[in-house]
């Protein structure tokens, strides 16, 4: 019984915190974390609600393996209706916060309504209260965490907070916990800001928060799992050494690195911003950007990057607060802040990444929006007068300046805070926004990798890499090698990945385990932790159920098959260079097959039979 079976319901309008038992039937059907919170959200809100309305809800949720010795068992998610996309938003984070929430005795916290004034939620095991946050409003995430710990004289409190971006409703604002881990995408931080909720601070010390169904079997299963991770080349060597940045040179050489707003598929400066470069000594001060690798709670992979900037770099020269070590660039951030706009200055990328953590905004959408703005500028649509400075592709100074303005919500930063879809639409070129469902692509070109293109188009939370990582088969050969340009077998592989990913997320572990773990490795841990019979077949059915529930929410919110699409650039403009030269997306070939495999109509709607099979 790896659930705490307790839900904390916080009514921000009334200022009340109440406890209710977890719906165990739903836990059996949706497992936990992403799936379970989605079930609660879908059952409690109108899909057509304005994301910033008090009627939208915001759910922090852990999984049955969160706060356990299962490797990577520290994940929590934030689920809400997202303001960037208008679709279901579910953003997953690591660090230590999620485990602390569960040790305090909570599977999930549901926030409803909006507070009349800024508050933060303070949880001390079973005790929860809303505390005035007037003194924290306007502060960064970093200042907020430090102030809360000092104020309560407890350095062991874990904090998840929004920065100024969330307060200013930047549509891709993140919720940042433990200073540099983030529920990063889809603007969950902006919803938190709209509710006047500055932070959630937790201290969890209960030994009876939850019980394992079969402790001895669980121990054995987690030990076996850790051995598999250690022995695997990706999780045992590549990720600890280079982090996700192990991919930068690989993806570039494959001609799948979107560059300058997807005009190009290879970046001449890729090496300068790569994982390898983070290890190299800087000519300026003789030190490497990377200080060490760091783990999230319970993680035996430890892919996290801890970086220290060159204190002499122009961006931080007179700003000692950025001279210490902090969360460095992961692959997606390095791509977005760098290749997506042609910037190859690793130190500048690190600084912008620090700002994203400090004030809580998604570096992927931000960086991609910079790329879009630079293209509009080069076309002459966006002028120096409007922006306040020159904005050509490759301008390090401009990227840094835009990050600062977006963090503070000043000047052109206000427009940047809308994301590329609204930016490009405002200037008459919506086709230049590299998005699906208004959310920006991450670091893999959807033309160069056909399966990733399909993954983006069909993703329930808009373009992202974390819901069906077709890079695994198309680049890494996991579990089988698939040629990037092939379409055969891709819809079936994607469906399997999407369903499996939903299971992994909902268990409360990290997706990166699946470079090494198969379903059986995960199944044995869930089986030992949770009551009931959790066969592999049942888990995949749970994953499929979750995927369809998210889909149903989006359909009810007004999305249609027309939104399962890619920008014209990926459909019509061939890749210019590299091994995938000449490629355009073959989405039209793959999508009908995908719908069919999903048991959906040609309009992308689950059939009555599918609905009844899944019980959605």
């Amino acid at each position: 019984m790896a659930w705490t079976k307790n839900v904390l319901r916080v009514n921000l309008e009334a200022g009340t915190c109440t406890t209710e038992p977890l719906n165990m039937q739903w836990a059996q059907d949706y497992l936990g974390q992403r799936g379970l919170a989605t079930k609660y959200l879908v059952s409690e809100i109108d899909p057509k609600v304005d994301p910033f309305s008090p009627k939208n809800k915001l759910i922090f949720v852990t999984g049955p393996l969160t706060a356990t010795m299962a490797a990577t068992g520290g994940r929590y998610s934030v689920v809400t209706k997202g303001p960037l996309t208008g679709a279901i938003a579910c953003s997953n984070s690591g660090g230590y916060f999620g485990a602390e929430l569960k040790f305090a005795g909570w599977d999930m916290v549901i926030f409803e309504g909006a507070s009349p004034k800024p508050v933060y939620l303070l949880i001390n095991d079973g005790k929860a209260e809303l505390v005035d946050a007037a003194h924290l409003w306007g502060k960064t995430v970093w200042e907020t965490e430090e102030t809360i710990k000092t104020q309560h004289q407890d350095p062991q409190i874990r904090v998840a907070a929004i920065g100024r971006a969330g307060e200013n409703r930047v549509l891709y604002a993140a919720i940042v916990n433990d200073l540099h881990r983030a529920a990063g995408r889809s603007g969950v931080g902006a919803v938190m800001g709209s509710k006047n909720l500055k932070a959630v601070a937790v201290r969890g010390t209960r030994t009876d928060a939850y019980q394992m169904a079969n402790p001895e079997a669980f121990f054995a299963a987690t030990e076996a799992g850790k051995k598999v991770l250690a022995a695997n080349g990706v999780t045992g060597q590549g990720l600890p050494t280079y982090g996700t940045q192990v991919l930068m040179n690989v993806i570039n050489e494959l001609g799948a690195l979107p560059t300058r707003n997807h005009r190009d598929v290879q970046f001449e400066g890729a090496h300068d911003i790569s994982g390898e470069a983070m290890h190299e000594k800087r000519p300026t001060d003789g030190k490497a950007n990377l200080v060490t690798n760091g783990a999230c709670f319970g993680c035996t992979i430890a892919c996290g990057r801890i970086s220290r900037m060159d204190p002499g770099h122009f961006s931080v020269k007179d700003k000692p607060q950025y001279h210490g070590a902090s969360g460095g660039v992961e692959y997606e951030a390095a791509w977005a802040l760098g290749a997506a706009n042609g910037v190859n200055d690793l130190e500048a990328l690190t600084y912008a990444n620090f700002l994203c953590n400090e004030d809580g905004f998604d570096p992927i959408t931000f960086g991609a929006t910079v790329g879009a703005a630079m293209e509009l500028y080069e076309m002459g649509v966006l002028t120096e007068q409007e922006v306040g400075f020159k904005l050509p592709f490759g301008s390090t100074e401009a990227m840094v300046k835009l990050a600062e303005l977006t963090a503070k919500g000043e000047g052109f930063g206000k427009i940047m805070g809308l994301g590329s879809k609204r930016l490009c639409t405002k200037y008459g070129h919506p086709e230049l926004s590299m998005t699906v469902k208004s959310q920006e692509f991450p670091a893999y070109d959807g033309r160069a990798l056909q399966g990733m293109g399909l993954a983006y188009a069909t993703n329930n939370r808009g373009a992202c890499h974390l819901r069906g990582y077709m890079v695994s088969p198309e680049v890494l050969g996991i579990p089988v090698k698939m040629e990037p340009q092939a379409t055969e077998g891709k819809p079936a592989m994607l469906k399997a990945f999407q369903d499996l990913t939903a299971v992994v997320d909902s268990a409360g572990i990290c997706l990166f385990t699946t470079f090494a773990w198969g379903l059986s490795d995960i199944q044995s841990q869930i089986q030992a932790a949770c009551e009931g019979d959790w066969s592999e077949e049942r888990l995949l059915l749970v994953g499929e159920r979750i995927w369809n529930l998210e889909r149903e929410f989006n359909l009810a919110a007004g999305f249609t098959a027309k939104d399962d699409n890619l920008p014209p650039r990926l459909m019509k403009e061939p890749a210019k260079t590299g091994p995938q030269k000449g490629a355009v997306s073959k989405l039209d070939i793959m999508l009908p097959e995908y719908y069919q495999l999903r048991g959906w109509t040609k309009e992308g709607v689950p059939t009555a039979e599918t609905r009844s099979r899944l019980g959605v």
Binding site: M69, G298, A325
Partner: protein, 158 residues
Amino acid sequence: MQKSLHIDPNKCTGCLQCEMACSWENHRSFTIAKSRIKVFTFHHEGRFVPYTCTQCDEAWCMTACPVDAIRLDPVTGAKIVLEPTCVGCKVCTIACPFGTINYVASSGKVQKCDLCGGEPACAKACPTGAITYVDADWTGLGKMRQWAGKTDTNPATV
């Protein structure tokens, strides 16, 4: 051979597997708040440092205890708290120069590392080798070897 816990902070990633293992061993729960080993994060230095009792030979905690509730395990060398005898006076927590013996409010007793009877769960759980259980007389062996490897054994040339 007497063994001792050996900590190499450079290898620590802050995953807290050791804290969960410790809590599980002693409380049958993964609750890190109950762990006797703590990993400290020095965020702005990019350092993670596991820290626990080093089992002093002349243990201040043992000497200070007025009821003889802290005893030496002759096999492992660990200083062990006898819970039934401990009265929760906390004098040991004041005496210990390192802070590695602490009061547990829920039990009314103190707790400290007891080396798990010679099979420390933290060392077993550590995925990076930051915490090992090695020959007490040779905790420096790894570092010696590292430096030995750097010694220039080529004859000097004129």
